[in-house]
Amino acid sequence: MWVRVKLFGGLREGRFTVKDIETCRTATVNDIVEKLGIESQEVGVTMINSRHCSMGCTLNNGDQVAIFPMIGGG
């Protein structure tokens, strides 16, 4: 199946901004993070289809996964 992965902040460096990635049907957010060579402690927030999710969440075909580093502001 295919998912659309969006990266933000420093996670884009050496990678990409948005990319469609082919995965197995049981793939989790964590699998995507590992596949992209991102250390888990670099990840601050993950969302599937604009909803916050845990790293263990399973993906469905056509999902949009957003991966953010630790960020702040206000």
């Binding site: 969006k6 902040g9 927030v45 604009s50 953010f68």
Partner: protein
């Protein structure tokens, strides 16, 4: 130098100093400004009349070597909201006032006639002088002229044309280490300063320093505190991308108010994002990191240059960029930066004014996305005080009433900033219950709702939001009293060594034995004092509500609505 209260009476043009009364002994920053206003300002007075008082107070740790301790609180009854108000800013003034032994500077009364005045505050005391040359001038001219007259090392607190014209969105600006500006942005405090005919305050703290009760303990605690800040990953991200890194995450969460709060996502979000801004700054030879006051180790500010590499603006914040960008649909960072600079010079709140533009665009006075039109109105109408400029310059609520708009995002007449409360419900509780009208900084639930700092509370669920907002509002009131930048809260939420070190520094500064519970108790006391003022001014729980449209208009993409009952909101005050 022992700390004192300094008073300036603008009615008879006199000054005096007083010992700090026992009841104010443990107070600084917002804790002190709010207590002075609550005790000395009649709650029903006209905010621009002689009975209002403008209070400046550095924080308890300002003037010391404590990292990030250079925030200055400014308080009064707000002409925009009619409530009590505290707004804090960086710049150099807090450190300098603290070193002059000034725990609070209280400006009282109002002179007869149309003469403008300025204050010169040094170790010899405060001198009131007439000011003619700078009347009608912008903030940058004030800073440059004071540097020429008195020296570059002086601190400056100033109002621009907006403050002189008593516009309700007028801010008070503070000179930063490089001669640029930081702002007491919200609540129209610049109009209060203007009503007292005070154009600027020049501060010379040469040769002065703050006494420490226990310098060794202070040094140790200060080192632990700075370490907690520097090592925190959110602090590090703030230094790299600034606050504007939030555009993309708030957009992704469907909470980026767009087109005057009609949608939660902006199709051109990447054009105004922190990542894009970071690349533009590097390409144009600007500075990614910049501190708004000496001693800041987070350095979330930046210097943004134009296409030719010439300085355009600094302190270019997420909320300003959101307001002009997504809310007004202007997808051009250069135009936004230019408007930011113009508003800094005029001395007007970028959030209030830009949200007012969004409302005016909905009314049809300007097309959504017309950044050049916005810039033209700022320069030709707001700066010059034409009738249109005065309407926009008095804020979003005023603009909505003048043009018959019903979708007007304000609480207690103050514009709602950059997070839609339908999609981030915790911040809606903060907007509704804030003692100062809609304000994100006063209880920044975004940290936990969206950024996973201090845990996670689902932004779209009602569960846990009242408690989250309450805890953050109490902690923020306490932090706002220390002189600390609120961004120390990220380390405070996630590093258990951070807040104890902060309390240790306060104890080493004053020779006290406060605990963290004592400091949080101060936060509760401040909130109750502020609320009590508002109740006496005529506010009721009916004012602690969001505008009707939030309950009626679902916000894409989640199609969320604001669904808290009045009773649920009012439970905020059960503490």
């Amino acid at each position: 130098m022992s700390d004192r209260i300094f008073r300036v009476n603008m009615t008879d043009l006199s000054t005096r100093t007083e010992d700090i009364p026992d009841r104010w002994a443990g107070l600084g920053g917002r804790g002190l400004t709010s207590h002075v206003v609550a005790e000395e300002v009649p709650p029903v007075c006209h905010p621009l009349g002689p009975d209002n008082r403008l209070v400046f107070a550095p924080g308890l740790l300002s003037g010391t070597a404590a990292a990030n301790s250079g925030r200055l609180s400014c308080g009064a009854k707000s002409p925009l909201t009619g409530t009590i108000k505290e707004s804090n800013a960086g710049g150099m003034a807090a450190q300098m006032l603290a070193r002059l032994g000034c725990r609070a500077l209280i400006i009282e009364g109002k002179p007869e006639g149309d003469t403008w005045y300025c204050l010169h505050f040094s170790r010899e005391g405060i001198e009131i002088r007439e000011e003619t040359e700078l009347a009608g001038k912008g903030n940058f001219a004030v800073v440059e002229t004071v540097a020429e007259r008195l020296g570059k090392h002086l601190g400056v607190i100033t109002i621009g044309q907006a403050g002189e014209m008593l516009l309700l969105a007028a801010n008070i600006s503070v000179k930063d280490p490089e001669g640029k500006l930081r702002s007491h942005g919200r609540g129209g405090l610049g109009a209060v300063m203007g009503s007292k005919r005070l154009k600027f305050i020049a501060i010379d703290a040469s040769g002065c320093s703050v006494d420490l009760a226990d310098p060794d303990c202070f040094r140790e605690a200060s080192r632990a505190f700075a370490k907690a800040l520097v090592e925190n990953p959110i602090s590090q991200a703030l230094g790299k991308y600034g606050t504007n890194i939030l555009v993309n995450i708030v957009n992704e969460a469907g909470a980026l108010p767009t087109r005057n709060f009609q949608s939660g996502q902006f199709e051109d979000h990447e054009k105004i994002s922190g990542e894009t801004m970071h690349d533009m700054i590097r390409e144009r030879g600007g500075r990614v990191k910049h501190n708004c006051h000496p001693g800041c180790v987070i350095q979330c500010s930046q210097v943004f240059n134009d296409r030719k590499g010439k300085y355009l603006t600094s302190g270019f914040e997420y909320e300003s960029i959101w307001a002009m960008g997504a809310d007004c649909c202007v997808a051009d960072l250069d135009l936004i930066a230019e408007a930011d600079h113009v508003m800094d010079d005029i001395g007007i709140d970028t959030i209030e004014t830009s949200v007012a533009f969004g409302v005016a665009m909905e009314a049809g006075g300007l097309e959504f996305g017309d950044g050049k039109g916005m810039l033209r109105i700022l320069k030709e109408d707001v700066a010059k005080g034409t009738p249109l400029g005065r309407i926009i310059g008095c804020g979003a609520g005023h603009t909505g009433r003048a043009f018959g708009v019903t979708r007007v995002p304000v609480v207690k007449n103050q514009a709602i900033p950059a997070y839609d409360p339908r999609s981030v419900k915790g911040i809606g509780i903060t907007y509704a219950t804030s003692t100062m009208g809609a304000d994100h900084t006063i209880g920044y639930t975004i940290a936990t709702n969206l950024l996973n700092s201090g845990g996670h509370v689902d932004p779209l669920s009602k569960e846990g939001q009242v408690e989250l907002s309450r805890n953050l509002q109490i902690a923020t009131a306490a932090v706002d009293s220390t002189g600390m930048c609120i961004f120390v809260a990220f380390a405070g939420l996630d590093d258990e060594k951070c807040l104890p070190a902060l309390v240790d520094m306060i104890n080493a500064r004053f020779g006290t034995a406060l605990t963290l519970d004592d400091v949080m108790g101060l936060g509760r006391r401040i909130l109750m004092t502020e609320r009590d003022f508002n109740l006496k001014a005529g506010f009721t729980s009916a004012h602690d509500r969001l505008p009707e449209f939030f309950s009626k208009e679902p916000l894409p993409p989640h199609n969320a609505i604001w669904d808290f009952t009045g009773e649920e909101i009012d439970s905020f005050w059960d503490f």
